[in-house]
């Protein structure tokens, strides 16, 4: 029994290896054009995984073109295959992979574009949470209060103008001149499920990171005026709990 089970496992190992090479595995029954038949599986696996990446990283694909993206996606899928059947969880390492992918070396911002797109996907699928009553923020001095932000909230920053690059490459967008230097954004899911990329000043992003880390409004204010971030979070219903005492 063990030997025979090994042959089941051995067959699947051969089949699996052949999906990523040009060989056809041993053990297939004789048939006309068996290589072409096996190619259906190779194409399904490789094309299916690349399609999942292109849905998730549409701007990266737009920036490099479909042929380049497919080659890069196949290399990523071969070296970093999904570890679970939940494809929406696959791709966290794509940004780092891009940064180490020699043919993409001429586009040093491309990894951060992938990071932004990954963050949007995380926000899209993040847990739901009820919005907190904001009344505590308007009673007395709120500097001792701590906020719990919605699970979809992310503070995004890049040394490159990646927020503008992303925005310019949305369907129907009119390309605006690209600024130089770093850009920052708030990424979060809104109540109607859209996931905007809201540009932030560097100081506002620093405040957001402090609040996100659970520091008090007073501590966050050491990095900049929290008023603008608080207004954004309140406007979009992104505060799910307010704890601590007002003074």
């Amino acid at each position: 029994m063990t030997a025979l089970l090994d042959s089941h496992a051995a067959m699947q190992a051969r089949f699996h290896n052949a999906l990523w090479t040009t060989a056809t595995p041993d053990g297939l029954a004789q048939a006309d054009a068996v290589e072409r038949r096996f190619l259906v599986y190779r194409n399904n696996v490789q094309h299916g995984l690349c399609s999942a990446l292109s849905q998730r990283f549409a701007v990266v694909e737009r920036l490099v073109g479909a042929a380049f993206f497919t080659a890069m996606g196949r290399a990523f899928a071969a070296s970093h295959p999904p570890q679970t059947p939940v494809l929406i969880d696959w791709g966290a390492e794509f940004a780092g992979f891009i940064e180490g992918f020699p043919p993409a070396a001429g586009l040093p911002y491309l990894g951060d574009v992938a990071r932004l797109e990954w963050a949007r996907g995380l926000a899209y699928h993040a847990a739901d949470a009820p919005v907190a009553d904001p009344a505590a923020l308007t009673r007395g001095d709120p500097s001792g209060l701590r906020l719990t932000l919605a699970p979809s909230v992310a503070a995004f920053g890049s040394a490159w103008p990646v927020v503008s690059i992303w925005t310019n490459n949305q369907p129907g967008a009119e390309a605006q001149p690209l600024p130089t230097g770093a850009e920052f954004a708030l990424i979060a899911r809104l109540p109607a499920f859209e996931v905007p990329v809201i540009p932030l000043e560097a100081a506002d992003c620093a405040v957001l990171r402090e609040l996100h880390a659970g520091r008090s409004l007073g501590a966050a204010a050491g990095h900049g005026d929290p008023t603008r971030i608080l207004a954004l979070l309140l406007k979009h219903g992104l505060i799910t709990a307010i704890t601590g005492e007002t003074l």
Partner: protein, 285 residues
């Protein structure tokens, strides 16, 4: 115990596509049930869950897994079983189904339904995996016949006998994909009617219908189960013959790639319903 582990209505069903959500809400009774791929609802929250929650208020839901790798030589993924269990407890689908296939190797998930040799050894593995799944999910499941492009030297069982024996040993029901039968029969040069004549229709809890693509090999066509076009006429004919023998069954139209307007899917569902209604009228007469 029910003979067949499903409570889907014996009507047409459609694969749910989020891009059709507004038209689905505006088109009550367009079809009898909706089917979703379980793995697309394994995120924590957001729009997918909101849509499914709304959909299940109006329609029975068929939960169709594509990730369990029932035919995998390795152990089933217990984390994935747990995710399925959460979905089933949350949405109480009328049916849960999976495939006679494998789709992961070691830690790698391959995102395709890969073919198996039909041997005593694979039979034992598959039955053990189905029993483990049914135990973990607290319900019986349906197992779907595959569309295949290759077969294996080692196979000692015919596919229909293999499926019947799996159902007998594990207690699962079967999902009969008529397009898969037609695709496999064409690809391996056998008669789909002979296959269907042997198929244990009394174990079938759901039918699948889908479109396929075609190309030419030196000694005949190679059909590809693409789910990217209308159900082909010969598949409609085989479906009608199955329904004439079995009586009305839940019948799903799948269309997963190059997705058309909702009205096109509605027309496919209406065609399936016409065939099911014909069988009901015959029963009544």
């Amino acid at each position: 115990m029910l003979l067949i582990p499903t409570s889907l209505p014996a009507r047409s069903g459609l694969g749910f596509k989020p891009e059709h959500y507004p038209q689905i809400l505006a088109s009550p009774e367009a079809t009898g049930f909706y089917e979703v791929h379980a793995e697309n609802y394994m995120g924590a929250g957001g729009a997918p869950h909101a849509m499914l929650e709304r959909l299940r208020a109006d329609y029975p839901i068929s939960l169709h897994g594509v990730g369990l790798s029932i035919g995998g030589a390795g152990a089933l993924d217990r984390d994935h079983l747990a995710r399925l269990r959460v979905l089933i407890e949350c949405y109480q689908p009328a049916s849960f189904s999976e495939h006679l296939a494998w789709s992961s190797h070691g830690a790698a998930w391959l995102n395709d339904l890969l073919p198996l040799p039909y041997t005593d050894e694979t039979l034992a593995v598959i039955c053990a995996h189905i029993e483990q799944t049914q135990e973990a999910l607290g319900r019986r499941m349906l197992l779907e016949n595959p569309a295949t492009y290759v077969t294996f030297e080692d196979s000692t069982w015919g596919e229909v006998d293999f499926l019947r024996e799996i159902a007998r040993r594990s207690g699962c029901g079967l999902l009969l994909d008529v397009n898969n039968v037609f695709v496999s029969a064409t690809n391996h040069r056998f008669d789909p009617r002979a296959y269907l004549a042997e198929f244990p229709l009394e174990l079938v809890g759901e039918i699948h219908l889908a479109g396929h693509d075609s190309e030419e090999l030196p000694d005949g066509p190679l059909l590809i189960d693409s789910h990217a076009r209308p159900v082909a006429d010969p598949v409609w004919t085989l479906f009608a013959e199955v329904i004439a023998r079995a009586g009305p069954l839940p019948a799903l139209v799948e269309w997963d790639n190059d997705i058309p307007e909702f009205a096109v899917l509605q027309a496919e569902a209406a065609r399936a319903d016409g065939i099911l209604k014909g069988a009901r009228d015959d029963c009544a007469a």
